[in-house]
Amino acid sequence: MKEELQKRIVKGPGGVDIEVEPLRDYYCEAPPTVMPAAYSKIVEDLFNWARSESIWILGFGTGCGAIEMRPLMTPRFDAYRYGIQWRPTPRQANLFVISGYLSVKTLKRAIRSYEQMQNPKYVVGLGSCTINGGMYWDSYNTIKRLDDYLPVDLYITGCMPRPEALLQGFMDLKKLIRAGNAEGANQYAENFKWYKDNQKKVIKDWDMPDYSW
């Protein structure tokens, strides 16, 4: 573990010794919980409709596929007209597009960002690499199956998929959401241990809290 995450003793005012255990003191340790849907089906349907029509993507390009997402904002594709926009902070985003190969190092960041998004949240895997490793199938440093680590709602195939394919993927995602089938966040909370084990298996220097709130 990194040095700054190890326990240390700090001198407080008046000379008292204060023990700081960073992972405990700095981070919330609560595990994620399954969040129930709204009590009434009508409300939940309304919500799902709104969620599907207002997809906010986390602006985090994890791999080469990120380059294919830029054209979506251009006049040619104009994803905005479908209620899709990019947010710079995971707190406000509800869709995480893993755009291409994911090295272990980036996986760590992706997990952290995913966990910082709020329930309900969706993951779309972009390109072959997220599905089975793609051309990096034999790399020592790139994961092969994204769904081992994060609950993926939808894969978009291709290497790379064209923006049109992305748009199509988003349309499919909308359908999933509207049907109430995009419950990745709850799935993640339910199988939290499984996901964590998978994650920790490849991330050898796990130096973050189990769930990054």
């Binding site: 490793g133 034999d138 020592y140 081992d148």
Partner: protein, 177 residues
Amino acid sequence: MQALYDKLKQHYALGELSEQRADLCFFTVPREHLSSLLLYLRDVEGYTHLVLLTAVDWIEQNQFQLTYLVNNRLSANDIGIRVLIDRDVASMESIHHLWPTAATYQRELKEMFGIDFPGSPRIDEDFILEGWQDLPPYRRDFDTLKYSEQTYRDRPGRVTHDPASHMKQQLYPDAED
């Protein structure tokens, strides 16, 4: 380039000159001459820019070859200086005092090849890989495929096609061979 080489040769035990292009040449030098040679090139001959520092694993000769590529901006020349070091005791003198940027390359080499550069800043910190526990991955005796299979789960049904034949099959399924 030849002139420079001849000049250098008088002082340093240089290996053979290989001129790859008119403005790029390589030669080897014993490790103990390296620092002095680089200093000379930097301060006297105007090779002020360290373009890169990289390594090649000559597992057959049980050697690592370090290549220090320096560039003279005014004459737009590059010289690659090769140093061969023993693969078993992979350690080399740091040149971060000549170019602070060298420290970064050296960190990378430490991580990827396991070549140590004692005294180089932050040499022991993780560079690209975080928490790597296996053999340094760029060593040729490291089997990346095996590692990958052990570490990452395959998705069943994955097949590999030759792109040319596969596309041919896809686009012109009826075409003869």
